[in-house]
């Protein structure tokens, strides 16, 4: 509940009903122009000193959301609000550069996000120069060393002349993070920053980001497909499926009491030593069978996009897109199962699964 107080603060960056469609060129004559519905109706808010994790499998539109927020490309519709003001997509040039000074992107792959022909100093000096934080070479060197110390690349004097090929994956990602910090941003959009790294150094990078989040009061958007690291690092979790947000709330709420069948599926496939024991003792818990895969986004399923895979799919799921339902304070989901007006139509099997789930949660609590 302590975390909950932070919500009273003003969000620094907000996305309101973002949509993004990528038109695709079809060579067939006379065919209707088609497009990929990459992101649909995405709303989120980032707060200073707080991390929001965006979780979902590949192709769910997580990266597209981050790139729209970084204004790599513009949304088809919807607003981005920075410090409460709508961003004008038509203004480029100086206005865009000013926006990017505050919102920085960290890329997934540190092996390709650094230019092989430039050394560490060059990479860090450019944002310092572009945004006018350093006026001369001496100031650049001072600030580069300071940045390297901030991301724990020490001794900084040695790293300053190194080229990307002389660094390990973890060191490169630190350089990439330092480059994002060089602009002195308020928001960092981290696009799967640890997924390309060796498992042994993931935790280091996560701890580094955690420290920066607190020290610099940064608002983080942490994109990941690994629900465990999301829980470790982020205060809030948003779950995306096929371009739509399906569930969101405080990390602990979402992880401990997942409501949307997709979140339940995601959690059931995450490796968890405890559950291995449970499975060995009691047999597999097949409340949420994993079946199918993410649908085509060119012709997405009608209604709820998860219904072809959903074990609890009802007739209405194929017809209407579910609205947002508050299941607990600050915890919401887009699912008809929790929609009071649709409650009568709940299939028996679901209620049973829900009851089993609740009972198990109770058992665990009692055991503690």
């Amino acid at each position: 509940m302590n975390n909950f107080m932070d919500h009273e603060q003003q969000p620094v960056l907000e996305a309101v009903h973002l949509h993004k469609e990528f038109p695709i060129n079809q060579m067939k004559l006379g065919s209707r122009s088609a497009s990929v519905h990459a992101v649909e109706d995405t709303t989120l808010a980032l707060y200073p000193g707080r991390a929001t994790a965006l979780v979902g499998e590949s192709g769910s539109g997580k990266t597209t959301v981050a790139r729209m927020l970084a204004r790599v490309y513009d949304p088809t519709s919807g607003e981005i609000r920075f410090r409460g003001n709508d961003v004008n997509y038509k203004k480029r040039g100086a206005a865009l550069r000013d926006y990017r000074r505050h919102i920085q992107l960290v890329f997934q792959d540190p092996f390709s996000s650094l230019n092989p022909v430039h050394n560490v100093r060059y990479h860090l000096s450019r944002p310092l120069r572009v945004f006018g934080h350093a006026k001369n070479e001496r100031e650049v060197t001072e600030q580069v060393i300071e940045l390297l110390n901030k991301v724990s690349l020490t001794p900084a004097e040695q790293f300053i002349t190194k080229y990307p090929h002389q660094l390990s994956g973890g060191q490169r990602q630190r350089v990439a993070i330092a480059r994002a910090l060089a602009a002195r941003p308020e928001v960092v959009l981290a696009d799967e920053p640890v997924s390309m790294l060796d498992v042994s150094i993931r935790l280091d990078i996560l701890n580094l980001m955690e420290r920066l989040k607190i020290e610099e009061r940064l608002a983080f958007l942490f994109i990941t497909h690994d629900i465990a690291s999301a829980r470790y690092f982020a205060e809030d979790i948003l779950v995306m499926y096929a371009g739509q947000m399906v569930e969101g709330g405080l990390s602990d709420d979402v992880i401990q009491a997942p409501k949307h069948p997709y979140t339940q599926l995601l959690l059931s496939v995450a490796p968890d030593p405890q559950r291995v024991e449970q499975v060995m003792n009691e047999g597999a818990n097949d409340a949420v069978p994993a079946r199918g895969e993410i649908p085509s986004l060119i012709r997405p399923p009608q209604g709820c996009r998860f219904h072809p895979r959903c074990p609890h799919a009802m007739a209405i799921c194929k017809e209407k897109v579910p609205g947002r339902t508050e299941v607990a304070p600050g915890h919401w989901t887009n699912c008809f199962l929790y929609d009071q007006s649709e409650a009568d139509r709940k299939p028996a099997s679901f209620i049973q699964a829900d009851a089993i789930h609740n009972a198990k949660a109770l058992q665990k609590e009692e055991a503690k």
Binding site: Q104, H118, R126, V130, R179, A182
Partner: protein, 316 residues
């Protein structure tokens, strides 16, 4: 502790940096036999252009009484029908021919970089306009255009400068297309996107992030253009677009043809410049393939000798 791991800091490297660079360039130039052959041929002609005239004891345009003589001790490569020394003409001619080819290739490469990188990076309307210009120049036939200009241009503007300009403008389009394609594949690379999202200036992205990464393509394209400009320079001069009172490889061939050296059996008049041109172009082509091989390791062919040596090492 870290200093113990890295005994050589950049400061310590500095005194020998010059030697290391020379060593690296030598290593690079001798990295495969095509590169070595090409470099040797090119260096030979450059030395010939610089020091050759010191060996020639006659001016290339001075007449003498030895008319149309075959090679002898007095005239190493014989004389023309007006008594000019062919060796002198050849070595003095190397200067102009090399210089015209080189300057035209440089100018052409600059155009290639500007058009290719700008159209590839910016895309959209800029790309449409620049691509249109590239395509217009691509279908512009070089040699027929040269012949047309040669037959209309007044004599006082004919010469190396006109040829250089003509060569520059007829040789850049192909390379520009190649560089445009390379830039298109570079612009969506992560490091370019991250530079863009960190607010970097577009021109700086093009010339400091993208260009250094495709420099081997530019180098190869430069050498390829050089081959074309050397050959086309000779062709233009042979067609009479050059200043015929100057001695270059092309005008030597022009005079040999107009004085009917072939019919008169004067092989020493037209063979030396012909051999020079083909040898130089072959050398440059070797160099070009050599660069390709260095830049693209998949093209590398290991020599049998090296393979045998490696086998021996393994056995030992």
């Amino acid at each position: 502790m870290a200093t113990a791991l890295q005994p050589v800091t950049p400061e310590q490297q500095n005194p020998v940096a010059g030697i290391t660079i020379v060593h690296n360039i030598l290593k690079w130039l001798t990295s495969n036999w095509k590169m070595t052959t090409g470099t040797c041929i090119l260096v030979f002609f450059i030395l010939m252009a610089i020091f050759g005239p010191l060996l020639a004891h006659m001016s290339p345009t001075a007449f003498s009484n030895d008319l149309f003589q075959p090679p002898s001790a007095a005239h190493w490569l014989g004389t023309t029908s007006k008594g000019e020394d062919i060796f002198a003409q050849l070595v003095y001619g190397a200067r102009i021919s090399l210089l015209v080819g080189f300057i035209a290739a440089i100018g052409s490469t600059i155009l290639q970089i500007l058009f290719g990188l700008l159209s590839g990076y910016f895309g959209g309307l800029v790309d449409n306009i620049l691509s249109f210009v590239i395509n217009v120049f691509l279908i512009l036939p070089g040699l027929p255009l040269g012949i047309a200009i040669a037959s209309f241009a007044p004599n006082n503007i004919k010469g190396p400068i006109l040829i250089t300009i003509l060569l520059t403008f007829t040789s850049w389009s192909y390379g520009a297309r190649v560089l445009r394609a390379q830039t298109l594949s570079m612009r969506s690379r992560d490091f370019v996107e991250s530079a863009r999202s960190s607010g970097e200036w577009p021109l700086r992205i093009i010339f400091f992030e993208i260009l250094p990464n495709i420099i081997s393509v530019v180098a190869s394209s430069f050498v390829g253009t050089f081959v074309y400009t050397i050959g086309a320079d000779v062709a233009f001069e042979f067609l009479g677009l050059g200043n015929v009172s100057q001695s270059t490889w092309g005008t030597m061939l022009f005079w040999a043809q107009s004085q009917q050296a072939m019919l008169a059996g004067g092989w020493w008049w037209f063979i030396p410049p012909g051999v020079c041109v083909s040898l130089l172009c072959a050398g440059l082509a070797f160099l070009n393939n050599g660069i390709d091989e260095v830049a693209n390791p998949r093209l590398r062919v290991e020599s049998k000798r090296k393979l045998a040596r490696r086998k021996k090492e393994v056995v030992a």
